[in-house]
Amino acid sequence: MFGLIRNNFYAVGSSLKWMVGSYLVIIVLSIISNMVFPAQRGLLLGAMGGIFGGICGLSSAISKDVKCKWNTYEIILPIRRSDVIKARYITILMYALISMFCVTTIVGVWNLLGSEIVAEEIGNIYTFGFMLMLVVPTSTFLLALKFGFDKNELFLMFTLGFSIVLYFSTFISGGKMQYDKTALNIGVCIISILVFVAAYCISIYVNNRKEF
């Protein structure tokens, strides 16, 4: 399975480079924007931009596999079908970790610059990013696996919209019920992990029965 992860990383390699590059640009832009906007606002915009870019890059990299018919070839390799899915999800997790590392770097840079950073805002960014990174690529992949990778972009938009609506509706309804924001953030993280696990299990089920 290590070979599959290696292949996946070669596959997402260029989008990963773009993501890290865009984070570097974001750092520079957010430093400039700090002169105009309050610090955490610039950070928020920058981090969000990076996360969105990363997710789009990852999702399009996943569909490239199918265009190359590597997913057909995987079936004849000496690996189990479930290993193919496992490798995909491990790649998504590693991608999410790298993305989180980039956001942390941005936070660190801001901290070094002596900008005012509100812990609650940072918590929100991490939660939102964590949710997007776990929910969007996995759900997009699952839908594409089941209904066809030619509709990948459509599924990406759908899951992205669904995740944003889910996130903000949780906070709006939670706020009305006067829940603590930390508790809501933890709730969102738990939901994201549950969606990730469910998408993984369903993907294995779908892939085991899929004809290529």
């Binding site: 070979g3 292949n7 070669y10 018919k69 590597w70 004849i76 390799l77 000496p78 079908r81 085991n208």
Partner: protein, 287 residues
């Protein structure tokens, strides 16, 4: 006799298509080369995909090395090399990166052999796969299939995108591969001359059915095609020929034993049957 591949009563149909595989049965003895011949859409690739578990069969039995291949049979997959008629590798990779990927996947990946084959076929190891031509992609697939110690090669139109010079080299490589009596090849191809060169057995498939499976030498040395006039054709009994086809003013007749046919009908001229002639004559459309 020990068989590398046994396909028994294989059936496969699709919900949105009228095409189906209908009771496909054939075997390949260990050490043999089976040529799989048929028109476009005859079902060759569907059979190969069923053998490889890429698609799920409706019924029937497929045994490779004497047993059904399950998802967990990693060992068996190590022993099977496959070349499709389309590129299958992630095209952002270089051959060098592919080498590393496959070395982590196959138990007996032979790096030296892979590099040797890449050099033999003039493939740039540092070039991205998306910069390869279709012929180069096929050559790359062949290099991979022959670099992990496979004992059974499944080739789906593997030589179709190659120029005659490289095709000759590749066919020689296949012949070298089957010099080891433990190695077997299943090769589907439109190019009958390739099959005439290397195949031991030929299986004809048409509209999802096996029409004929025969030893290649029997086909070439015993089968024959007679071009006869209508009045001569009318005198023939149905058991004397396998298939017939009107061609201009003549009727082409495929016979199973040209010597016996000539004995019975000394005035009729019987030519050797080429694989293309046989395919043309036994295809349902042409009958």
């Amino acid at each position: 006799m020990e068989y590398t591949l046994e396909v028994n009563n294989l059936c496969k149909s699709y919900k949105k298509s009228t095409f189906k595989l209908d009771d496909i049965s054939f075997v390949i003895p260990k050490g043999g080369v089976m040529g799989f011949v048929g028109k476009n859409g005859a079902g060759k690739s569907t059979v190969i995909r069923s053998i490889l578990n890429i698609i799920n069969k409706d019924s029937g039995e497929i045994k490779i090395f004497g047993k059904e291949m399950l998802d967990a049979d990693k060992k068996m997959r190590n022993d099977i090399g496959v070349v499709f008629d389309f590129p299958t590798f992630y095209n952002e990779l270089t051959a060098q990166q592919l080498d590393k990927v496959l070395a982590d996947i196959y138990d007996y990946w032979n790096h030296d052999k892979f590099i040797e084959l890449l050099l033999k076929y003039d493939l740039d190891i540092h070039k991205k796969i998306n910069k390869y031509s279709s012929g180069m992609l096929l050559k790359l697939s062949l290099c991979v299939a022959m670099s992990h110690g496979a004992k059974f090669l499944i080739l789906d139109e593997a030589t179709s995108g190659l120029d005659p010079v490289v095709r000759e080299e590749v066919l020689d490589a296949f012949l070298e591969f089957v010099e080891d009596e433990n190695n077997t090849i299943l090769m589907s191809s439109h190019i009958s001359s390739d099959l005439e060169k290397i195949a031991d057995y030929i299986t004809f498939i048409d509209e999802g059915k096996i029409i004929l499976t025969e030893n290649k030498d029997t086909l070439i040395y015993e089968y024959g095609v007679a071009k006869i006039k209508q009045e001569d054709f009318d005198k023939l009994q149905a058991t004397e020929y396998i298939a017939s086809r009107i061609r201009g003013l003549h009727i082409e007749v495929l016979v199973m034993n040209k010597y016996e046919f000539s004995k019975c009908h000394p005035t009729l001229l019987v030519d050797n049957a080429m694989l293309d002639d046989i395919l043309r004559l036994i295809s349902k459309e042409e009958r």
